[in-house]
Structures are given as structure tokens and as C-alpha cells.
Symmetry: C2
Subunit: 202 residues, 2 copies
């Protein structure tokens, strides 16, 4: 026993996810096929179907992993920053964009059109909710500290999110030149600070 390639893999699901992430990060979303994932995991083309209903389910699982990482990065950064709610907001926006620039293909996958309807993927919906909830919490404390004036919290959160989302996407699409990372981070930090100063006037 213990020969090469046993019939039962042991933990194929995890291995498939790992392979999928490697493919996405290495060759982009377009290279992510079920067959490629199976091949890289040393398994037949149909094996993944016993762990993911179809290709979309695999993509959704990869996206969920991405949201988990994004959330983890944000949480970690907030622990290292102070308690100032304004600085926390700016910092988490910067971390967000940093994540986008560091994982361009993964981020694009996380917001790809095929996953727009998340009702079919409850795990993905749950994973994606964590960053949103985090932002909402930060905005709430900022509002409590009087930084938002009379501005609706939900609107404020959406605007900050949209700005980070937009800057991150423009960065990885090449609109911020080569080496967009410092420029993108400076832009979000600047814009979030600007918005907060604008809101505090109301």
C-alpha cells in the first residue's frame, strides 16, 4: 500500500481549492478550468464533481477563500493601528486596496459577473459579508465620534467601499501606471480623508 496516487485522495476538496488558487494567481481567471484544477491535483477530470456541483461552485468557493483572506488582512491591520476611528477607516481602506493590488486575479474573480447572484452560494455570501460588516462597524464608531455630521451611515459606508473598489480595480487594470501600489494606496487614503472632512462639515 501507500503507492503513488491512491484511489481515494484523502482531502481532495482542499487540494482542489489550493490548486485553483494557484492557477488563478499564476495564470489568471481565464486559465481556471475544472480540468486544469483536476490535472494539477493529479486526479481525473470528473473527480471535482464529487466536491463541487459545477464550475460555478468551484469559483464560488475560491471567491469565498478570497473574502476570508481579505477580512483577515483587514482585521490584522486594525489590531496594529490605534483606536482613532478616523485613522482606522483610512487604514482599512488602504489595506483593502493593498489586497486588491496584491491579488489582482483573485479580486477580479471575487467580483466576477458569474457570481453576482450569491443566493446560490450561501457560503460565499457569508464570507463576503464579513468585510462589509467590518466597514459598517468602523463607520458607526466614526459617526459616534461625530465625524459624519448628519450623513447617513449606510451611504457613507457605500461611498468608502465604492471608492476603494474603484481605485483598486483601476489600479489592477493599469490605469495607475506600472507599479500602481503606492499610488493606489495614497489615492484611497487621500480620498477617504477628503470625504470624511467633507462630511464633518454637515
Amino acid at each position: 500500500m501507500e503507492g503513488l496516487a491512491p484511489y481515494h485522495h484523502g482531502d481532495l476538496r482542499a487540494a482542489l481549492l489550493r490548486s485553483a488558487l494557484e492557477i488563478v494567481e499564476g495564470d489568471g481567471v481565464s486559465a481556471l478550468s475544472l480540468r486544469a484544477v483536476a490535472r494539477r491535483s493529479g486526479v481525473s477530470a470528473m473527480a471535482p464533481y464529487h466536491h463541487f456541483r459545477d464550475r460555478a461552485a468551484l469559483v464560488a468557493a475560491v471567491a469565498a477563500k478570497g473574502f476570508e483572506r481579505l477580512h483577515a488582512a483587514t482585521v490584522e491591520a486594525l489590531q496594529n493601528s490605534g483606536a482613532d476611528s478616523l485613522k482606522s477607516l483610512v487604514a482599512s481602506a488602504c489595506v483593502y486596496v493593498d489586497f486588491v493590488v496584491a491579488n489582482p486575479a483573485l479580486y477580479r474573480l471575487m467580483y466576477s459577473a458569474e457570481l453576482a447572484d450569491r443566493t446560490s452560494f450561501p457560503d460565499l455570501a457569508e464570507a463576503a459579508a464579513a468585510p462589509s460588516a467590518n466597514l459598517a462597524r468602523l463607520v458607526a464608531t466614526a459617526a459616534g465620534a461625530g465625524y459624519l455630521g448628519s450623513v447617513d451611515r449606510r451611504s457613507a459606508a457605500l461611498q468608502i467601499w465604492a471608492m476603494a473598489h474603484g481605485i483598486g480595480l483601476l489600479a489592477i487594470d493599469g490605469y495607475l501606471g506600472a507599479d500602481p501600489r503606492p499610488r493606489a494606496i495614497a489615492l484611497v487614503g487621500d480620498s477617504v480623508a477628503t470625504m470624511l472632512s467633507g462630511w464633518s462639515l454637515r
Copy 2:
């Protein structure tokens, strides 16, 4: 002569583009295949290759059409608005987001990953430059009117663009609920106004 389906189409390129736009708007980007476009145009599967080098070239041509429409919509809206540079900026941001919400699949295609490197598609690069140039011009006149304080014009333009881009994408991805159009437009208008008021402080 003048029978059905002549061997030479006459203006296949235009017909293919039209079919492609119909497919994108009707069934989404994922349904846009060369064969489907050919089928809808009543022509063999290989015919498109005499007008577009490969699938990416077709997609690029569709995207260019999209940028032309976006630019046209913005220009038209600006003619109907006054000369106030601040209002013009807000208005064009609203028109931008309105376009995104009205043409979700087309907009996604315009910024799809496969077109990120536009050096291969000079026509697309040129078409995409028009909206950017328009925005830069509006920002320049706003700066001339003293609305930007000491803020870098390029940064200001990028932030406005990113905000519209981000809000539009969040809207068509379902994060603004069903019927996102009024909400999205209100959000951009609000946010651009906020940013301008924040900038004018510096």
C-alpha cells in the same frame, strides 16, 4: 441575383458588431462567442475571422463601441447643463453611472480583464481615452474656478472616476438592491459634491 444569403455579405463587420452588442445586452458577456455572433449574422463560423483577428479583437471592438456611446451620452448631457463647472462635474458623474446601470453587461465587457492590456487594441485605447479626456477637461475648468484648492488635478480626476466606476459596478452587482438606478445616481452626485467641498477647503 439578389437572392437570399449572397456569398459576399456586403458589410459583415458592422453586422457582426451589431449582433455582438445584441448578444451582450441580451444574454450577457458569457454568451458572446464568435460562433454565436456568426450564427446570428447568418454566416459561417469562420467568417468573423476575416474581420477580427481573434475573439479578443471582436470583444475589443464591442468595447470601443461602448466607450463611444458613453462619451456621446456625456457630451449630450453637458450640452443641456449650464456652464457651472461644479454642476457639470456632478452631472457628468451621474450620466456615467446612469450609463453603467443602463448597460451593465456592456460596461463589464468594457473593463473586462481580457482587455486590460490595450496596447494590442489601439482603436479601443483611443475610444476609451475620450471619456477620460472629457473628465480631465471638466476638472481643469473646476480647478480654474478655484474649486480644487491645492489638490492635484490628476488625483482629483482619478478619484472622481474611481468613485463613479465603483458605484456603478456595485450597483450592477446587486449591492444597491433591486432598482439600483436612482440610488446609484444619488450616491455619485452626493459623493462628488462631498469631495469637491472637501477639496475646496485646502
